[in-house]
């Protein structure tokens, strides 16, 4: 049976068209784009084309606003460290409790070494940002705001453009980790107040180890890596040219597939989610149903532990992931679920299915076929399961 891959928020399959576009840049077009000779020049031109593809995907005003990086983590680190260095008169960071570790760990480290003070804005039970707390944290001491466009675990989307406007009123730089949003949600940067945006290739069918940081023209910037004059001196190091070409191709494909993400992929997700809620009692969706990525479905199943579900899914040839403690090696559920304060009866039983354009109806059917049996089996083992049959539609989690 063909394996079913539903962990696209972790990483995606590289599109064969992306691979095909990259291949010549290993053995034929191997020149250094900085070289003047013909080996370099044609590569330089291709790197520029790739940049304009990313510009189009992001709706950016200028192609040189795109800086290639080694991925989302480097882009996030660069953005925050750059802002602190570029705004020496300010030393505060505003971020949220549900950010990716690429932002959170850095902020915690900066606090520990006394380099900055960080505000971690909380979220409500649906993962929506606490706007009041956000407004209260903003001041003219804030160098940078870093808030994610869409959450990797729940898919919940923050109202980023509005949040950026608020940051601007205090003169802070605004960065968004859009690693999960790029390619899945429409983005248009040119008229926004967003100064910096991170993206990562491997979340949009390009290879791992390539990404980009958008820096708005005129925004203050300090490089993380110093050395050669690549990327206009903003990110030194000979470009990962095959990666860059692959990212450019992936951006082109993402633009072409954007409507599909919002329609076909979303319909698949909705059918999966609706099917699970209908077939399995005592479960509910984690995240903001009104503002969510079209591909992400995070469901909490009461009275079971996520690792057991994943082990069964793995045996059935289905790949998904879990915010549960057991699978991560930590003893507590994910920081995102904890920040959302989801009911403790279900916090340990949350499973994330994340789709992409590679998925089809058959994949959804397979999950719908096996999940009820898995839950039944595990719940029969659970000392807390009393068999109360509250169907998904009627079932409301109890926030004790």
């Amino acid at each position: 049976m063909k394996p079913v891959y539903l962990d696209n928020n972790a990483t995606t399959r590289v599109d064969p068209q992306v691979v095909a576009a990259m291949l010549p840049y290993f053995t034929e077009q191997f020149g250094n784009p900085s070289s003047i000779h013909s080996f370099g020049a044609s590569v330089g031109a291709a790197v520029k084309t790739a940049r304009s593809r990313l510009q189009a995907l992001l709706g950016a005003a200028h192609d040189h606003e795109i800086i290639y990086t080694s991925g989302g983590t480097e882009a996030d680190n660069t953005a925050i460290l750059s802002a602190l260095e570029a705004m020496p008169e300010r030393n505060e960071i505003v971020t949220s409790k549900v950010e990716h570790p690429a932002v959170l760990s850095l902020c915690q480290h900066l606090e520990k070494i006394g380099r900055a003070k960080a505000h971690y804005i909380g979220v409500d039970a649906l993962g929506r940002i606490d706007i009041e707390a956000y407004r209260a944290a903003l001041s003219d001491k804030v160098a940078v705001v870093s808030l994610m466009w869409a959450n990797n675990e729940t898919g919940t989307i923050f109202p980023i453009e509005g949040l950026a406007d608020l940051a601007k009123q205090h003169g802070a730089l605004f960065h968004t980790d859009a690693v999960q949003a790029v390619g899945k949600a429409p983005i248009s940067l040119k008229d926004s107040a967003i100064d910096m945006l991170s993206l990562s290739g491997h979340k949009l069918h390009a290879p791992k180890g390539i990404g980009a940081l958008y820096v708005k023209r005129g925004a203050r910037f300090k490089p993380l890596l110093r050395g050669g004059h690549q990327e206009r001196g903003r990110r030194a190091g000979t470009e990962n040219t095959p990666g860059v070409i692959g990212l450019g191709k992936a951006a082109e494909l993402a633009v072409a597939h954007m409507a599909e993400e919002q329609t076909r992929v979303k319909a698949l997700r909705d059918r999966l989610e609706g099917g699970l809620l209908q077939r399995i009692p005592n479960c509910f969706v984690n995240g903001d149903l009104n503002d969510r990525l079209p591909n992400t479905c995070n469901i909490a199943f009461e009275y079971v532990e996520g690792e057991g579900i994943l082990l069964h899914l793995t045996r059935a040839g289905i790949a998904a992931s879990s915010g549960s403690a057991c699978t991560s090696g930590s003893l507590e559920p994910s920081h995102v679920l904890r920040a959302m304060n989801i009911p403790f009866t279900a916090a340990h039983g949350s499973i994330r299915f994340s789709l992409s354009r590679d998925n089809d109806d058959e994949d959804v059917d397979r999950v719908l076929e096996v999940m009820p049996g898995i839950l039944e089996k595990l719940r029969a083992l659970s000392p807390f399961w009393a068999g109360d049959d509250k169907s998904g539609k009627e079932f409301k989690p109890v926030y004790a």
């Binding site: 057991c326 904890r338 000392p383």
Partner: protein, 324 residues
Amino acid sequence: MWDYTDKVKDYFFNPKNAGVLAEANAIGEVGAIACGDALKLMLSVDPESEIIREAKFQTFGCGSAIASSSALTEIIIGKTLDDALKITNQDIADFLGGLPPEKMHCSVMGYEALQSAVANYRGEVWKDDHEEGELVCKCFGVDAGLIERAIKMNKLTTVEQVTDYTKAGGGCLTCFDKLEEILARTNAELVAEGVLAEHDAYRVGAADPKKIKEKAQAAKERESLTQISPLAPASPLPPLSAGLTNLQKIRLIEETIEELRPYLRKDGGDCELVDVEGSNVLVKLAGACVGCQMSSVTISGIQERLMAKLGFPVRVVPVGRNAH
């Protein structure tokens, strides 16, 4: 995921003795759902011979917790209570061909459940019921008694091991000092009994002081990050009320939208109140706002104004616009 042995996988996928034992005359329960694992062990003990005739379990927890519970029942069926009590958590792990170190607490849970069930049968109060031991790790509800037993039974000599075997300290780690103290004291007892070499025993502060500071610091950061004890029951979303009647709320919302309308119109857009559901304010965007990239700005703008006016959080939800 975890590198489980084939036997662990087998006992997880095809657990033996799972379910409820209706005629149980000894029941042991340990753990809690909030802590991520719990085990209910049910035994049917022959009153004459004290032989365990049947054993069943129900477990909430990860793969290795379920496998450990099932293994425990397999080991003890047919044994007398006295023989069963001699079983250690290591015996459970060995039966399964070993457990990943971080999962050893699953075997300890099995051991504890058995002790509790036997005490229940004999009409004793199991020590674990917080009689003798004070609660040390609040994150996972682990008391001093369990920690001491796990240290003694497994000759644990580091704080990390104590966490692997009992989960104590696996959360906020504010109990680090207490764990150190218990570990040092219990190790000293083991040395006195001659079962632990003096130079292996843990001494308070033996962990690199820098590391301790870092851990405490990390704990503080985590605290500030979540500001909730792990899995404290959630508080509900505040309802859209705060003393106002529905009609008053709707009037206020309409007034606010009315105030904003000139600005929206200026940009060629418009907004109309459709309904109020709980704390959700459903609106219909019209004109240039529809499907516009910037509609989320509009929405967050309206939302902000509403919250300022109403004095409590609301969510503005656009309805009837093109999905985007």
